[in-house]
């Protein structure tokens, strides 16, 4: 059976832009892979929204300042806040820079109630930054939504005990996507099926949801029911699951610590993965040669991959190194112990959910490279294929600037033909397609040009293919004639007969020369062209 823990979520909206040092009244945004990840309230007022592409945000707000996303900077700047919250309750989970959760029972009793606790947390950082949204509710999901609503309303949102299902029921279904719990495609599907509120989804039976939507759907269903966010498949692993590494020589370089952390993380994620499980809550402990300790708990609903674990170790280590002098657990020596403890694991349903819906590390790297290459060359020089359809190979796809295309929605955008295209050539298709057809001569056995009659017949058997170089102005140079050993056609194409200036009538042929070189040859306006080569 599931537990219902009462959770406080503290959420700083648009933390990355705050970490970058921008005040709320300056229009600015933080970009990752060409998309807005966070923006100041001044920018938001101008219509800049999270998820927008660079161009769109610049159009809404021409004077906007844009900086690149730097997760390490976000983590570093967030450290003082984490320490301040740790004074309220040391048992906190950092989910990501800007988002922290704690169990509420103890602190609430200590401070005299949920409202008092919330007020205390809102002021935790004083005037330094805009106050966070604080939400208190049963279950992590409800609490996280409450925190975001609190940020909007500028007042803590507290859901009474037992009221989470009712609260969640009223929420629009998009909240699952906003909190990174579900894929955009799944949410889109829910919407199209008429499930517009979480309550609509919760009203379905879990068995039906599993059958129709799979594990991703069940996960969404559980959250929508406000029932719990600790799935019954969650277990606390035995203490033996923790991995640690004691160093004989204290490590004074971060890179050495990260090196070890990488190996531990790979081993941990690997062994959990082999059992079909993923770690949702990781406790990282670092100990120095003089006995100082740094212990931090990290939570991620979608599970922590090995790289994600290493990233958090790096953040925690950086934070520890940068503690102000005189702090209680200030690091005064090298690191001698690194311990990773998987505090919470759950069944891995095989989804790697990211903010933009299922991006892998390779996807993210490619997106970054595309952005960089577009500035190195030009926006039009980096393109992706978009299917258009057509009868000639050169017409079937169009190259569209990559920055204008939704790279993570490519599979939905139809990267291929939607069905048979009437009049298209059968496969195999030619591997070399000339964007501008190359002029050529097709001759019969006597050396005369072969012609295609209006009735779609050849005047004589094509016997030789001869390339033409040059143009009408400077004259044509003829290449060596190559005997044609096989051919077929004409396969006529008449395009846009209804538009006089775009009307095309041409005939397609396949021809193979004696060295088994295959060509797609076109006859148009009594002239011959090579359109493609079966390379």
């Amino acid at each position: 059976m599931s537990e219902q823990q009462r959770i406080v979520s503290v959420w700083y909206p648009d933390w990355p832009v705050t970490a970058a040092g921008f005040d709320a009244d300056i229009p600015a945004a933080v970009m990752a892979a060409n998309r807005v990840v966070a923006r100041t309230s001044a920018a938001a007022a101008e219509g800049v929204a999270i998820g927008q592409r660079r161009r769109q945000s610049q159009r809404r707000c021409p004077q906007i300042a844009l900086v690149d996303h730097d997760p390490d900077r976000d983590a570093r700047e967030f450290e003082p806040i984490v320490r301040a919250i740790a004074e309220v309750s040391p048992r906190l989970d950092v989910i990501e820079p800007g988002w922290v959760s704690l169990g509420s029972r103890g602190p609430s009793r200590y401070f005299g109630g949920d409202q008092a606790l919330a007020d205390r947390l809102v002021d935790v950082n004083g005037e330094a930054h805009a106050p966070p949204g604080v939400g208190i509710a049963d279950g992590r999901f409800a609490s996280s939504v409450a925190a975001r609503l609190a940020a909007r309303r500028k007042a803590p949102v507290i859901i009474e005990a037992g009221q989470s299902p009712a609260f969640c029921g009223e929420l629009p279904i998009g909240w699952l996507q906003t909190l990174g719990e579900s894929d955009p495609e799944l949410i889109d599907l829910f919407g199209r099926l008429g499930l517009r509120r979480l309550g609509d989804l919760a009203a379905l039976s879990a068995v039906d949801v599993l059958g129709r939507f799979g594990h991703a759907g069940v996960h969404a269903h559980r959250l929508a029911s406000g029932a719990d966010t600790r799935p019954s498949s969650t277990t606390d692993p035995a203490p033996e699951r923790r991995l640690d590494h004691a160093l004989d020589d204290p490590a004074t370089l971060s890179s050495a610590v990260v090196f070890v952390a990488k190996q531990l993380a790979d081993e941990l994620a690997g062994s959990l993965g082999a059992e079909g499980r993923v770690c949702t809550r990781l406790v990282v402990l670092l100990e120095s040669e003089h006995g100082e300790r740094s212990q931090r708990s990290w939570y991620r609903s979608a599970g922590l991959s090995a790289p994600a674990m290493v990233e958090r170790v790096r953040w925690q280590l950086d934070a520890w190194i940068n503690l102000p002098k005189g702090s209680e657990q200030e690091l005064t020596g090298g690191i001698v112990l690194i311990r990773l403890t998987p505090d919470e694991v759950r069944a891995d349903e095989g989804s790697q959910l990211g903010l933009w819906g299922g991006q892998s590390e390779a996807d993210r790297r490619a997106a970054r490279a595309i952005a960089r290459l577009s500035t190195l060359t030009s926006q039009d020089a980096v393109t992706v294929p978009v299917w258009r359809g057509g009868r000639l190979p050169a017409d079937r796809y169009e190259w569209v600037p990559a920055v204008m295309v939704d790279l993570d929605q490519r599979e939905r955008a139809g990267g291929g033909p939607m069905g048979p295209w009437p009049g298209a050539l059968p496969s195999p298709s030619p591997a070399t397609v000339f964007p501008e057809p190359q002029p050529v001569e097709v001759l019969d056995a006597q050396g005369d040009a072969v012609q295609v009659t209006g009735r779609g017949q050849v005047s004589a058997r094509p016997a030789m293919l001869r390339s033409l170089n040059g143009d009408d102005a400077s004259g044509w140079r003829r290449g060596r004639p190559r005997p044609i050993i096989a051919w077929a056609g004409p396969w006529p194409v008449e395009e846009r007969w209804w538009e006089p200036d775009r009307h095309r009538r041409l005939a397609r042929f396949q021809m193979v020369t004696d060295d088994h070189d295959g060509f797609l040859v076109i006859a148009e306006h009594q002239r011959w062209w090579i359109s493609a080569r079966y390379d």
């Binding site: 790979d266 291929g416 591997a431 396949q510 493609a532 390379d535």
Partner: protein
Amino acid sequence: MHTAVDLAALSDRVAPPALARERTMPVSEELSGLFVEGGLVRGRTLACQGPAATSTALALVAPAVIAGAWLAIVDLPTIGLDAARELGVPLERTVAISTGDDLGSSQRWPDVIAAAADGFDVLLVRVPTDVSMGALRKLSVRLRQRDVVTVVLGDPGHMGCDGVLQTDAPSWSGLGEGYGHLRQREVTVKASGRRLPGDRRCQLATPA
């Protein structure tokens, strides 16, 4: 949705020394016999040549892209996308890059390839003839460090090349004298080069 191979883990060079086998990308069954390691070893450069060079190159990289790798095609405006798709290359992870038509484009070429190597796992390129030897050597080192698989169409020139796949003896079937259509081509692919020892060859039929 494709299950993405955890390429980050594959390219983890901090791990204890690994056999080449763990740092390979998948390759089709027909072509796997050409490689000692049974796959495409990261960081290596291969050249595809002969009458079926382009289809062989596309067939070579398709399984890696299916497994989640991204493919960058640099300065090859003639690439047939239908053919690529038919050979299995997922077009949603295919990007074309052009260094430009101006006189400075050859100067830019090594930088563009280097930038592409940072984000893409497979590159399909043609080496321009007027890039300096020094620049090509430096680029080769960079490509090896970034663990990128580079497939060159045609002559690799002074770029370090770990192996050549030579296509030969093509033979088409399906087309007659005035009837039929091109149905299938058989071609011999011979592997040679530093990292492709011995006399390895295979028959490649497209479509398979």
